[in-house]
Structures are given as C-alpha cells and as structure tokens.
C-alpha cells in the first residue's frame, strides 16, 4: 500500500470511507450477500462443523512439524522435476522471480490472484525490471488497470461500480463499452485470452501444497488459474510456508469447507492440482515449474502470540461479518490483508508497531471467530496484541495511563464503589437522553464518535444489597 495513504492516521482513513456513500452501499450489499450464501451452504451440510474441527486440527498438527512437512514437500516437488526456492524475506522472494525473468528472457507474466504476491509487492518490482505483470482474475484486472489495490480478499473490486468499470475499460482498452457486467466480462475475456497465449511466465499463489505428493493446489472460479498453469512455458508458484498440508486425505477436508466459507459454493468451479512441470508424453503444460517458499515473518509466530493466524485459509468470511470491515471496507486498513484477520497478518508480517491503531479496529464481538472455517480465535489475539502494544510502550501514553487507572479500579472493591458514586456526580452535565455525550479532555475522543452509557442511578451492587 502506498506510503502516502499510510501517513494518514487510521481514524481519518476510516472517516473518509464512512463518507463515501457508494462504498457504504457496495459494502453492505456485498458483505450481506456473502454472509447469506455462506449460511445457506453450511445449513445444508451437517458434517460441516466436524470438518471444521478436523481442518483446524490438521493445521495445528502440521505447524507442530512444519520443518518435516516442508522438507517432504520440497523433496517431492524436486522428484517431479520442479525447482524449490527458499525466501526468508519479501525482498528475497522478489529477487528470485526477477532473476528467473532475466535468465529466461521473460517479457510478460500472467498472474492468477495471489495475496502472497500482493504481500511482497511483486507487480511493482516486475514493472521496474521491464516485465509486464498482467493480473488475470477479473477483479484484480480491474484494479490493476485502475492502479488501485484489492479491497476484499476474494472480491478485490467490490468498491467499483459497473459504470466505473465500463469507463475504465473504454479508456484503457480503447472502445465504447456499456455498463453491463456480462459485456464487460466478455471484453476482459477477449483481452486476457491474448495475454494467456503470449505470456512466457505464469505466476500463481497456492491455496494448499500437499507435502506427500509435491502438489500445489489452486482454487479458482474463473479458470484463469488453469490458464496460467497450462499455457506459459514457465510456472512460478509463491506460497507462505504455512500453506503446506500433509496429504491428499487432508486436502479434501479443506476443500469441503473452503468454498462454502468464501462464496457458499460446494466447490469452486476449478480446483487445480499441479504436480510439477509437464511430463513426458504430455502435449501441454509448462516446461519449468518453480515453487518459492516464503517465510517473511511467519516462522517467528509458530511459537508465539499470533500462531493461530497461521491457520488462515484466506477465505474472507471474517471480513464479511466484521462490523468494522462492513463500515470501512478494505482500503482503510491500509495494508495488503484487510479485516480482522488482516490486522493479525499485518502484525505478523510488518511487526506490532504497524498495527498500533488497527489493533483497536475491532469491537471484539467474536463474529469472525464464529465464521472462521478453522475457528481462529481472532478476538483473543487482538486483545493479546493490545496488551503487547501497551507493554512495549507502542500504545499512546494517554491510553496507557487511562487503562492503568481502570485496572486499579477493577482490582479494589472500595475504589470501584467509590468511583460509581463519583462518576454519578461527575457525569451530570454530560448526560443527554440517557446517553453520555461530549465528554471533556481525553475522554472526549471516545464520545466524539460514540455514545456511552452513564453510570446507573442505582448500581447493581446497591440493588443486590437490598434484594438480600
């Protein structure tokens, strides 16, 4: 994400999103639709709950022996004739792709949607090196033409209207295209079909990689994932190390819940299993296959606070249900991964300081945890993250002082009782229609955007005493 955007404080970024009426409408429609589709899909699938537990257990068990599974994966990919590269940092991963492009004379690379390549800002690096990266997922293609960033993990262009897309295509692809999704899709099909047939390299992420068989698995709906892994002469797959799973038996457990969680489909249109470069006797497929295993801060968390975030399947379900995401959308978060899980992934990849504001962009309502296919306890980790920010003195001093004082109050019954009495007296000038509004000093930052309930006329403790 651009530095300019990140220099704006989060409350301002969020404020701008709240004022964007189109964005508000688009977010409401999209997230509500995704929520309904998911709910419907799991309603008719009683075994879903057990499969979610199973999937979570597989992720836990795999991380426990991540070194073993990665070595097994690498051995098997190499046995199939593929090449494996180990990238500790985003920079190393970028350099590996660029070196391949240089060595093989690659001029154009077609890409299927990959959050990992977004994470390492691969497109900018490719452009800089004179290689044209072409995003081929329709949503990604739209935002690439518009020079924007994805706003949702699985629906990158939900913030754009069909009118805006028509305008964009008419300008960039030189034509007169009406604001009709079907026609616009056909326009993209034609433009991108040429690219698929011309490109020297296909770049993908990976939804899973099966250690036992050396198989990289891609889940897509449009078919672009199949194109980029079938037509160009080189295929490069970039994946975070946490995407490895042990076996084909494990794979089908994840397949059963992934599409249901993301789009409410039983399976996405295409699940593509890539087993190295094309084999003897095969007419099609890449002659070279490269797998780049990316760490970029992940391994640090295996035994640490954010461990569970490594289970994430990138389905986007937690975004749709999040009351904060539903209001502000993906861009306001400011980083590659938006939404509740995005805050944790950003902390993982960029360090805790990067989320000093975002760590509070959650009401801790727990809706994300409920819909997560692998039941990641996002609220717990957000609380722990806030605690870290406080301990590492990254949080602002005012916040630290207020919470320290609050802690004291909660620890002493006398102080707590006393504070209720004082509060009842002190709040008087600020209570309007049964709500606290326009508090002074540092407290005013809360009431500027939110109302607070006043201290009750008679507290629970006082009533309890009478009842006894």
């Amino acid at each position: 994400m651009s530095d300019a955007l990140l220099r704006t404080p989060f409350p301002e970024r969020a404020g701008a999103a709240l004022k964007d009426t189109f964005l508000q409408e688009a977010l409401k429609i999209a997230t509500t639709k995704f929520i309904d589709l998911r709910k419907e899909s799991f309603a008719g699938f009683p075994q879903g709950e057990a499969l979610r537990d199973r999937a979570r257990a597989i992720k836990e068990a795999t991380l426990q022996h991540l070194d073993v599974h990665l070595e097994r994966l690498a051995d098997n990919v190499e046995r199939l004739g593929g090449h494996v590269h180990w990238a500790t940092t985003a920079e190393e991963a970028r350099e590996m792709v660029l070196r391949l492009c240089r060595d093989r004379g690659v001029r154009m690379a077609v890409k299927s949607k990959s959050m990992a390549t977004e994470e390492i800002d691969l497109n900018e690096a490719l452009e800089h090196a004179g290689v044209a990266p072409v995003e081929t997922d329709l949503g990604e293609y739209i935002i690439q033409l518009a020079h924007e960033k994805p706003s949702h993990i699985i629906a990158p262009a939900i913030h754009k209207t069909k009118g805006q897309v028509a305008e964009l295509f008419s300008r960039e692809l030189r034509g007169e295209f009406p604001a009709d999704p079907e026609i616009l899709t056909a326009v993209a099909r034609k433009a991108l079909r040429e690219k698929f047939l011309q490109a020297d390299m296909g770049i993908t992420g990976a939804n899973f990689a099966v250690a036992d068989t050396g198989t990289v698995v891609l889940v897509t709906n449009e078919g672009n994932g199949r194109m980029v892994t079938s037509l160009p002469r080189i295929h490069v797959a970039l994946m975070g190390v946490e995407k490895v799973i042990p076996s084909m038996t494990d794979l089908v457990v994840f397949l059963a819940i992934l599409a249901r969680s993301a789009t409410g489909q039983k399976l996405s249109s295409y699940t593509t299993l890539v087993r190295g470069p094309r084999r003897a006797g095969e007419l099609e497929g890449p002659e070279e296959f490269h797998l780049i295993l990316l760490d970029n801060g992940r391994s640090r968390q295996i035994a640490s606070t954010l461990r569970e975030a490594l289970y994430c399947l990138r389905c986007g379900a937690c975004l749709n249900v999040c009351p904060v995401y539903r209001q502000i959308g993906g861009h306001a978060y400011g980083y590659t991964y938006p939404g509740p899980i995005g805050i944790l992934l950003t902390a993982m990849l960029k360090g805790n300081e990067s989320v000093r504001e975002l760590a509070h962009a959650s009401s801790l309502c727990g809706a994300c945890k409920d819909v997560c296919p692998v039941r990641i306890d996002i609220p717990r980790m957000l609380v722990e993250l806030r605690e870290h920010l406080d301990r590492e003195k990254i949080a602002p001093w005012t916040e630290r002082v207020v919470f320290k004082a609050f802690r004291r109050l909660l620890l002493s019954p006398t102080a707590f009782r006393l504070s209720a009495t004082i509060g009842r007296w002190a709040q008087r000038p600020f209570v309007r229609n049964g709500r606290l509004r326009g508090l002074p000093l540092v407290f005013g930052r809360w009431t500027k955007t939110r109302d607070l309930r006043p201290v009750a006329a008679r507290t629970f403790r006082e009533r309890w005493k009478e009842l006894r």
């Binding site: 836990e60 672009n224 593509t272």
Partner: protein, 243 residues
C-alpha cells in the same frame, strides 16, 4: 539468498519451542489406499444409480447440462447435437484411445471440423498447432476420470493424448463418462487420490489434475454472476449407460 538448510533450521528452532503445545493430529489416512479404493469401487458398482441421480441434481444446480445415452455408439450424435445447439463449427477432442470412442468420422460427416489430440505427440510444433486449434474451437470433448456426485464435479487427469486445454479453451466443454467413474463424496475422492499417488504406474499420468465444478464464473463486477469469464461458458456431461 537463503539456502534450504538455513531456512529449515530456523523453522526447526521455532517448532522446537512448542513441544506438545497441541495434541492435534492430521486426518486419518487409509492404511492401504489401493484396497480402500477397491472397496469403494465395489460398493459403487451396486450404488451407482443413486450416485448418478445425485450428480445430475448437483450438476444441474450449478448450470451444468446433463445428457444420457444408451451406449458409446450414440455418443457422436449427442456431441453433434450439442455442437449444433451452440452453432459450433469446430471441435477438439482427446485422443480417441483416451476417450474410448472416435467421434470424428460421424461429426465430420455432419460438416464439423474435428481435431483430435494424438497420444505421444509432444514436440514444439505440435504443441503450438494444437493450442491454436483448441483456442479456435468452440467445443472441447474429454472423458472424466472421476465424477463426484456430492458436488456435481468432473475430475480430469492430464496426460498423453489428454491435453489440459481441451476442457479450458473452447466455449463449450463436453465430458463423456460411464458408471465406473462415479464417486459419492469428497472423502472418496481423497482415497482415490491417495491410491493414484501410491500406485507404481503414477508416472503414466500427466502433471495436472482438474476438478471442474460447472462453467467458469465470476461475480467480480457488482456481484453479478457471469459465466464463461476465461474458461467454458457451458459444461455438458454425457453419461453412457452401457457398462
């Protein structure tokens, strides 16, 4: 650049900090995949009519078009009807030996232009020529190695005479299959994939396996469902009754 040893050592160091943090296990795997696969096949030999009905329901739900023909001899006519229905002029097919039938003579008589992939062909010139033909053809004809009832999914293995683009580049994909390809659940697919990878002749098949669940689709513009964005706009499944 980080080497493998250094990379793995770092991961191992982190992993070693978590002894017994969780008592989780991976999914229970079949001890003997080949036998487990054989058992499923045997059971399906009895239960295939139910599996076929379920497949049909699920396949149609995702906009697939289901056809049923009595035997292989009736397949070319069914493909011809699909091609005419789409206004197609040219077709690409897998190698007749991979398909189990040769539709070319009958379809050619109907005035359709048919190009069949040939097993063993793999030189650069043949590759480019075939790709061009596949990109121009309106219909692609393949078999299906597994047909999954639970989700309405066709599973295709690439290989010699079985190009991956046949089910991808043309506007219409037609997959022809018999009862022995039917499976009921994803779990059974898991067993079949385990068996496939455990068998000694695995080198015989190609490098790609595709699960195809309906036509290519997107909802990236204002969540409007649109079919045929990159892959086929239509998917047809032709079931051959005769065993």
């Amino acid at each position: 650049m980080t080497g493998r040893a250094e990379f793995i050592a770092r991961i191992r160091r982190e992993v070693s900090k978590t002894p017994g943090l969780f008592g989780a296990s991976t999914a229970p795997r079949p001890a003997d995949p080949a036998t487990a696969a054989e058992t499923i096949r045997r059971e399906l030999a009895e239960r295939w009519p139910e599996a076929l009905e379920r497949f049909r329901t699920e396949f149609e739900r995702i906009a697939g078009v289901f056809h049923r023909v009595p035997d292989l001899a009736a397949v070319p006519a069914a493909i011809g009807a699909i091609a005419r229905g789409y206004g197609a002029k040219s077709l690409v097919t897998w190698d007749p030996t991979a398909l189990g039938f040769d539709a070319a003579p009958a379809l050619t008589r109907e005035g359709l232009d048919v190009v069949a992939a040939r097993a063993g062909q793999e030189d650069e010139a043949a590759r480019l020529r075939h790709r061009e033909r596949a990109a121009q053809a309106q219909v692609g004809v393949t078999g299906a190695d597994f047909v999954l009832a639970e989700t309405g999914t066709l599973i295709l293995l690439s290989g010699s005479g079985r190009p991956r683009s046949t089910s991808l580049l043309p506007d219409v994909h037609v997959a022809v299959f018999g009862r022995d390809r039917l499976l009921e659940t994803l779990e059974q697919v898991g067993v079949m994939l385990e068996a496939l990878h455990a068998s000694p002749d695995r080198a015989m098949s190609g490098a790609m396996i595709n699960f195809i669940t309906g036509p290519s689709r997107t909802a990236d513009i204002e969540l409007t469902l649109t079919r045929g964005v990159h892959g086929p706009k239509e998917v047809h499944a032709v079931f051959v009754e005769a065993p």
